[in-house]
């Protein structure tokens, strides 16, 4: 045992950090400090230095709602909430995290999250030839259910030309961008390296010393030979590639010309091998077939990108996983890392990066660590007398639910998901009793059921989502959203009194105290205050039948669903 460990066991890590006596990540790991402990120690030190008082720890209710939303994309049911609140075990939070990560809903949620992250809701020019969303999300869900390491997933996505029978959907990244080289270059940089090199396309970006035009075209050289091939017989798009094509670039304002082979930022150039004339293609491009070269720069990209040595690759993953849970990257915005926009807590990011490399890009494991941290589990109630800046991560932020989270939470709060699954579950049991247990927890079976529910609520997504290619998270609430929530007939359909919704259950509860509890557990994922209980009592006091009770409750439920407490993740 090192002297530091001995010392730290007596006085804790914080004083050692404060004294600058410990080089954070390496030492911490060596001495058995988990990632979440490292994160907390560094932040505690930074807060002390900046004289920032963090918020208190979250209540169980806060935590339950937040972690369900972050790991499964939807609020829990009232029943699940009550069970968690009443659970007396001291490690219930860690258990909940593990339970959620192992659930099929985790895989489905991550499929949605990464779909939006990687496609940014784009559609290719020729929509019928697109990779079907359902198929693409199934591919992602399968990957996350198996906890496929990030480097493997990235390799598959960048390598894919759409022809692999086992995973044709992986080509979606290219297809939705029409395999347009400049768009692909920019987004490869942004989404896999956390760097937006767009401005460098024309000239060296005067703002950022380290984004060089050469970096942009180095990536461009990997993808410049690609084009979309639309197969009219199969009604599908494939990514074709030529065997020739060099990349030169000229600054718009100087006449300086540069030439580049494929090269990732910070990496070395990869020259093409010299091929015998006539041996350039496995299949030469023609009107009826895409080109398949013997040497593929695209495959080189797929090889070179997902490695620890590639500048920005690991950092980008760590940053984005952090942002998934904390609402904001350590580098913010997520695609704008450069010398003048460093991480707000460089050592936290470093520790996460190191962990990711050592744990082979284990996404579930990383999310688990972050979720276990004290930082993640802070309350959103401000520390008395102060409002710490967002980049301090000293209080849980209020962040708008994503369009998907909002949609599923509306369906959950009104009992529609439960009703749908109960029916399907009963059907499965009857028709397939031997496979029942295995199947009902299979993400594939559940995905189909969720997709059936999607149709009735797609307008929620289109109303709240950004334009294709734009960042959802940059959206502030706007009047269009409010008008939708107040007046849209489609929304009304989702929250009206109807059989098979939670109104059935609420209408049947005659005791106002029990009713208030069920309402608040289902909608706000917490127990009601005394005031809230008395409000509910007043609302239903004149109702004598379940129907009257339901109709008295409907506007109240509507109001709660429109409240900030519901609209935000907090």
């Amino acid at each position: 045992m090192s002297p530091f460990t001995r010392l730290s066991r007596r006085i804790g890590w914080l004083p050692l950090l404060m004294a600058g006596a410990v080089e954070v990540c390496g030492m911490a790991v060596e001495n058995g400090l988990s990632l979440h402990e490292q994160i907390d120690a560094i932040l505690a030190r930074d807060w002390a230095k900046e004289k920032i008082t963090p918020a208190a720890a979250s209540q169980d209710a806060e935590f339950a709602r937040r972690v369900h939303l972050d790991l499964t994309g939807v609020i829990p049911t009232g029943t699940e909430t009550r069970a968690f609140l009443d659970d007396a075990r001291p490690d219930k939070r860690a258990r909940l995290i593990d339970q959620l990560l192992a659930s099929p809903e985790y895989a489905l949620h991550m499929a949605r999250v990464f779909d939006v992250m990687l496609t940014e809701r784009r559609l290719p020019t020729v929509k019928p030839y697109d990779v079907a969303t359902a198929m693409w999300r199934a591919y992602l869900a399968e990957s996350f259910a198996a906890n496929k390491p990030w480097d493997k997933l990235v390799r598959e996505i960048l390598d894919s030309d759409g022809s692999d029978e086992l995973q044709p959907a992986a080509a979606k990244f290219y297809v939705v961008r029409d395999a347009e080289p400049h768009q692909m270059t920019r987004d490869v940089g942004r989404l896999f390296l956390g760097m937006d090199l767009q401005c460098a396309q024309c000239h060296d970006d005067p703002r950022f010393d380290d984004y060089k035009q050469a970096d942009y075209f180095g990536i461009y050289a990997f993808v410049s030979r690609l084009s979309l091939f639309r197969d009219n017989k199969l009604n599908r798009s494939f990514v074709g590639e030529k065997a020739v094509g060099d990349v030169t670039f000229t600054s718009v304002f100087t006449t300086e010309q540069g030439r580049t082979d494929p090269r990732l930022p910070g990496g070395t150039m990869i020259a093409d091998p010299v091929l015998a004339k006539g041996a350039e293609y496995v299949v030469a491009p023609s009107n009826t077939t895409r080109g398949i070269p013997n040497y593929s720069r695209r495959k080189q990209l797929a090889e070179q990108m997902p490695r620890a040595e590639t500048q920005g690759f690991v950092r980008n993953l760590g940053n984005r996983l952090w942002a998934l849970l904390l609402g904001r990257g350590l580098v913010h915005p997520l695609d704008l890392h450069h010398a003048k926009n460093p991480p707000s807590h460089p050592e936290v990011l470093q520790c996460i990066e190191q962990w990711l490399v050592e744990n082979h890009y284990d996404i579930q494991g990383c999310l688990r660590e972050i979720a276990l941290s004290r930082c993640y589990q802070l309350s959103s109630e401000l520390p008395p007398g102060s409002e710490p800046p967002a980049e301090a991560f000293a209080v849980a932020p209020l962040r708008g639910l994503t369009p998907e989270q909002l949609r599923w939470s509306l369906l959950q709060a009104t009992g529609r998901i439960e009703a749908h699954f109960v029916r399907a579950d009963a059907q499965l049991k009857k028709s397939n009793p031997e496979e029942y247990e295995a199947k009902r927890n299979d993400w594939r079976w559940r995905k189909d059921l969720y997709e059936q529910l999607e149709r009735q609520s797609n307008l929620v997504i289109t109303t709240f989502a950004a334009l294709p290619g734009q960042d959802d998270s940059k959206i502030d609430p706007v009047v269009d959203h409010a008008l939708f929530l107040l007046n849209s007939p489609k929304l009304l359909d989702l929250i009206k009194v109807a059989p098979g919704t939670a109104f059935d259950r609420w209408a049947a509860i005659s005791d106002p105290g029990a009713l208030a509890e069920d309402l608040y557990l289902s909608i706000h994922i917490r127990r009601p205050t005394a005031d809230e209980t008395s409000d509910v009592t007043k609302i239903v006091e004149r109702a004598t039948t379940p129907a009257e009770r339901a109709s008295a409750l409907q506007p109240f439920v509507w109001g709660l669903l429109l409240s900030a407490e519901f609209r935000f993740n907090h």
């Binding site: 000229t250 718009v252 006449t255 010309q257």
Partner: protein, 333 residues
């Protein structure tokens, strides 16, 4: 017509002349003594072929995009401000015979009738006017078109004229009876449209028009769709039916086509920092000969004696081409 038929596939470069601005138009005078060229500048370059001596002819105030020869000794040049100047080539160097403000806007098409007595101009507002070559007097104006006119060609019968425009999504070829101003045939050439909804701009359109010497074929030049390739479409002038598509491998535009008196067709085209000219037998899809050039070829003219031809290019390695090239080729006997 040369005594011996030439082999269209055997052109060779004779000489190249550099110019300090990108070039867009060229024409030999009726006697084949001078070669005129114009482009992004007001001066018209005039080269005496025998001696190579160059003169700059002044009179235009803007870019000179159109040129044609007329009669026995005139060359007509049209510019972006709507001015047309007739140059008397019996003088050495050629000098201005007349000078008119033909149009209120850019002249995008200029053609001369077979007998040389009349010429036609078309502009970017859709106006087509027909004039007397000898003195520049206006004779007719066709009913107004809406879209810019990018091509004009007289029918050899002297009574009809063909126009081509840049209507978005459906560029149009129209055949007109000159005397009555009546439109007798309309062909919509959607194949040459490069319309993109994203910018709501017609990027393509017909860029050049010519008729076969006997008037039976209309040739429309342009780009097949937004992505190309450069193409020339051949239409039956009586029925309007598409007879053949002559496609290059170049992604850019075919800008101009000209028939040799011997019956074969030549086209010029270009893309960013590269160009070509091709020779075709109109009964075949594949070209007889292709030559690549370092800059886009913007115009072409065949010498009246049919033994030589000239091609203009815009030249520049950087993003902004600054110079032009005028090249003379010959077909050896």
């Amino acid at each position: 017509m040369p005594a011996m038929p030439i082999d269209p596939a055997k052109a060779r470069l004779v000489i190249e002349h550099k110019h300090d601005a990108p070039l867009m138009s060229c024409v030999f005078d009726p006697r084949g003594r001078f070669l005129f060229s114009g482009g992004r500048g007001p001066g018209v370059m005039c080269i005496e072929i025998a001696t190579g001596e160059k003169t700059t002819l002044t009179g235009h105030d803007s870019w000179v995009g159109e040129m044609a020869r007329a009669g026995s000794d005139l060359v007509l040049t049209g510019d972006y401000l709507g001015r047309v100047i007739a140059w008397d080539c019996s003088a050495e160097p050629p000098r201005e015979r007349w000078n008119i403000d033909a149009h209120p806007s850019t002249i995008r098409a200029l053609a001369v009738s077979a007998d040389g007595e009349t010429f036609a101009t078309g502009d970017r507002d859709g106006i087509v006017r027909i004039w007397q070559t000898s003195d520049g007097r206006q004779l007719h104006e066709l009913p107004k078109n809406v879209h810019p006119i990018y091509g004009l060609a007289f029918h050899p019968d002297g009574q009809r004229i063909v126009s081509a425009d840049r209507q978005p999504q459906k560029p149009q070829i129209k055949v007109w009876d000159i005397a009555t101003g009546r439109e007798t045939l309309k062909i919509e050439v959607a194949e040459l449209s490069g319309y993109r909804r994203v910018e709501d701009i017609e990027w393509g359109g017909i860029r050049g028009l010519t008729l076969s010497p006997d008037g039976s074929l209309i040739v429309a030049c342009g780009r097949a769709g937004y992505d190309g390739p450069a193409s020339a479409l051949l239409f039956d002038s009586a029925t309007g039916k598409l007879k053949r598509k002559l496609a290059s491998s170049l992604k850019g535009f075919c800008y101009m086509a000209r028939f040799h008196a011997q019956g074969f067709l030549m086209t010029v085209g270009g893309d960013v920092a590269k160009g070509e000219f091709r020779t075709w037998n109109v009964e075949q899809d594949a070209s007889l000969a292709d030559t690549s050039t370092s800059g886009p070829c913007t115009s072409l003219d065949i010498h009246p004696e049919g033994t030589r031809f000239a091609v203009t290019q815009a030249i520049g390695k950087s993003s902004y081409p600054e110079t032009g090239l005028l090249a003379i080729y010959e077909w050896p006997a």
